[in-house]
Amino acid sequence: MNPALRQFADHFLMWNEGPLIWISDALIALTVVGIVVTLTYTKRWGWLWREWLTTTDHKRIGIMYLVCALLMLFRGGVDALLMRTQLAFPGEHFLDAEHYDQIFTTHGTIMILFMAMPFIFALFNIVVPLQIGARDVAFPYLNAISFWLFFFGALLFNISFVFGGSPDAGWVSYPPLTELGFDPGPGENYYLVAINLSGIGTIATGINFLVTILRMRAPGMTWNRVPLFTWSVLAACIVILAAFPALTVALALLLLDRLAGTHFFTILHGGNPMMFINLFWVWGHPEVYIVILPAFGVYSEVVATFSRKPIFGYKSMVASLLLISVISYLVWAHHFFTMGAGADVNTFFAIASMCVGIPTGVKIFNWLFTMYRGRILLTLPMLWTLAFIPNFVTGGATGILLAAAPEDYQYHNSYFLIAHFHQTLIGGVVYGMLAGMYYWWPKMFGFKLDEKIGKVAFWLWNVGFYVCFMPQYALGLMGMQRRMYTYPANMGWNTLNLVSTIGAYLMGLAFLVIVWQVLYSIRHGERDVTGDPWDGRTLEWSLPSPVPEYNFAVIPTVTARDMWWAAKHEGQMEHVRPRAEEIRDVHVPKHTARPFLIGLSFFVAGFGLVFQWYVLTVVGLVGVLCCLLIRALEEDDEVVIAADTIRHHEATLGRV
């Protein structure tokens, strides 16, 4: 073999590292070929480009976020199963230390930033404009840019595994372990560049939805009538705006340390790694509230709908959302109680962290009393919500244990901590996102997901969850640290680890059942012909499923909190539905390729930064600049949907 080629294959493609890489390469090649062949065979290239890649429609962008989130859940889940397989027995050699380190790093980063974030953004996009009676978000063009920055950020992060090597210093990426002296490879650069790309998109999304909710509510929708999911998005956006810039700065400075030889976080020359750790968690702790708050919003909608009762204590629910978003800034140092801060500092952050439990506890009680004297329907969204309550209550309780600073001297960095945050992030966030997905699925696609298959997945997942994570609490108390790629046989950890691995596989099986459920339901799922399959309460259920491009033919006037429910029960649905004579022309943004191209250009620029091939960086940035210039000079970026077209469409739906 040609030596240059050989060197390329070993150095960049890592073909000398064995079957794990070969299998990944083969799978990626197969997938790409499969997609290309399918698209060509079904002549769908034009459809893909026109309907999806160039769209600025919030509903389609939401669906693309959802698809990405599910794909990333798969990737992160495979990482998890590889780790659990390695840990099933003591002293195993299924993975070596380096691969294990890469896999736990990508697992954490992907699950938080490339699975949980797009999942909440999917629901932001699909639901918020419909719930507040708007035609789109405030800045549809920016919204598309946000998505493509996220998409190409995620792509950049994912190719690291088969091109150059994944990051391997943990998802928290503490220096000095991540400085050049200890970590010279490109993996860490991938981490820094990819997260910052999608992070910029996230900040833009935060601005977009904040403005949308502040400015674009339908007439009559006072703050007292805003649906709780929308409130939760508002709270999450406030946290995004205040927290994400800290991450952007921290990662950018660390990248400068690595690429330009600065010393922000190196130990010598006056830098200080503690600065990074503080900045990281100034973002990192609010981040978990960014993902949990929208989940709380979903639970509020689901509980009210399927108890057939308005939410109990609406004002307390809003107050607790906002209180959580404020307290979330005052707790970051609880991630490093053991870093030598004084007892006074630790006490402050310990008590502040416990205080998060107060508004959260109030929410639990209010959900319970929404069900109290209601009529509870055990649909799939409701099942996931009901499973969330005990899961999150116990997970939150172990969080209070961790918040007690002296106790944290024992739990910190152990499997006790691992069990805790998986319980809150899976039992809280993932359950919420799945509940939201099941709940709004008919609104997105016009059919329900099959209940029977969904229940199989639900039980598999829940049993799997407890079997997987309860043993990890015990392992932590038995002294097992996180991030060990293997462990000795004489510590008494063997059985519990094996049990935990079995639980993880049950959850993996549940995921496959959900995939089967989706595929099955595309064919056989119950069609939603009314647009209101759950007897819903809020405005999105007054629209047909799937929702037409212009959303509301006529923007409704809101006179009550659960507007659609109130209209149905007072027999005044015509106040919410459009009247033919009131329908006017609607302006919607033109389809545009530029958001996609901006994302692609940033991808090229970022790829150049990872390998310090600066020509690519310049090319990419020039591409970005061109797109920005063309946008700045753009005169006419809207198309009109004629009133007649809308009238005709509404008539075919039987609505006017």
């Binding site: 310990a350 009393f369 209070i400 024992q410 609490y473």
Partner: protein
């Protein structure tokens, strides 16, 4: 018949889920819940108190959840009241804002008390023993400034005597964790943090690095051997007389990334610990170091306390 079988299944499922907790209570392997010294015992007391406090809330909430879901499920013939307009109750809201406030108040007070208590040395009439600890890639170096001996991946301490571990790192940030004796504290390059430890009974206590440091991290186990004072003194004496000393060159060799077993040294370069802290960034830490004398020359007395003035550690 059917319902009996059903119940049997649930019982088995419950057993599976809660077995780890049951196990956690009794097994000797559960190090955190088997403290062997006053520091770890103090933490353990707080653990027990907070678990009880939380159970007071959790158990009723879980019971209430189960009851509400069962009672108000939508089923033909369910005669439970249905009140679709009952959405507010000032009294109830006061109750559940108050419950968590009270719990957090009590737990917060105890947490504050324990946090401050743990910064003080365990009460004792004996003199304090100092052990300087350097975490390296991927091994632990223990230096005894008063006994003039050094060890790798194990250390010996006297029982019944407060021991202050003074921690730093000459590698990425690690964490020094001895579950049965004291919990953990980070080892930070350029800084010296203190962890108080005391063992009541002789024995070998498991310790491990807790903060990830790369490839060899899983091999960073060490043992803390607690021996009666007499035995500790004779152990140190024996090491001084029979083991070869650690040299500067030897230290540089030891520092190179890699995994080693146990090593004992009958001596080490004067002021090695202070030198490591100074060179790894202590020189840039205002308030971290006694800057007036030329930094690392104050050296080999037992006291690294100058370096502890900035961070209180524990």
């Amino acid at each position: 018949m059917d319902s009996v079988r059903q119940r049997g299944r649930w019982w088995r499922f419950g057993l599976l889920v809660f077995a780890p907790f049951a196990l956690a209570g009794c097994g000797q392997d559960v190090l955190v819940l088997h403290p062997a010294g006053p520091v770890a015992k103090e933490i353990d007391r707080l653990i027990v108190l907070s678990v009880i406090l939380l159970l007071v809330v959790i158990v009723p909430v879980l019971a209430l959840t189960a009851y509400i879901v069962w009672r108000y499920r939508d089923k033909p013939g369910n005669r439970a009241p249905y009140a679709p307009h009952w959405t507010d109750s000032r009294l109830l809201e006061w109750v559940w804002w108050a419950i968590p406030v009270v719990i957090v108040g009590i737990l917060g007070a105890y947490t504050a008390k324990t946090t401050f208590a743990l910064t003080r040395p365990p009460e004792s009439n004996s003199d304090v023993v100092t052990v300087d600890v350097v975490s390296l890639d991927w091994k632990w170096l223990f230096l005894y400034p008063d006994e003039h001996v050094a060890t790798v991946n194990y250390c010996v301490i006297p029982t019944g005597v407060p021991v202050q571990f003074v921690l730093t790192s000459d590698a990425p940030i690690n964490s020094f964790w001895v579950p049965q004796l004291a919990g953990q504290e980070y080892t930070m390059p350029g800084m010296a943090l203190r962890l108080w430890v005391q063992a009541d009974e002789p024995g070998n206590y498991y310790g491990h690095g807790a903060n990830f440091t790369g490839k060899g991290f899983a091999d960073m186990a060490f043992t803390v051997e607690a021996q009666p004072e007499q035995a500790f003194a004779s152990w140190a004496l024996m090491l001084r007389q029979s083991a070869p000393p650690l040299t500067q060159a030897g230290y540089q060799q030891l520092k190179a990334p890699g995994v080693v077993g146990r090593i004992s040294y009958g001596g080490f370069p004067k002021g090695l610990f202070d030198q490591v802290v100074w060179e790894d960034g202590g020189q840039y830490m205002p308030g971290m170091w006694n800057m007036t004398s030329s930094g690392h020359s104050q050296a080999s007395s037992g006291s690294n306390l100058a370096s502890l003035s900035g961070g209180e550690g524990r």
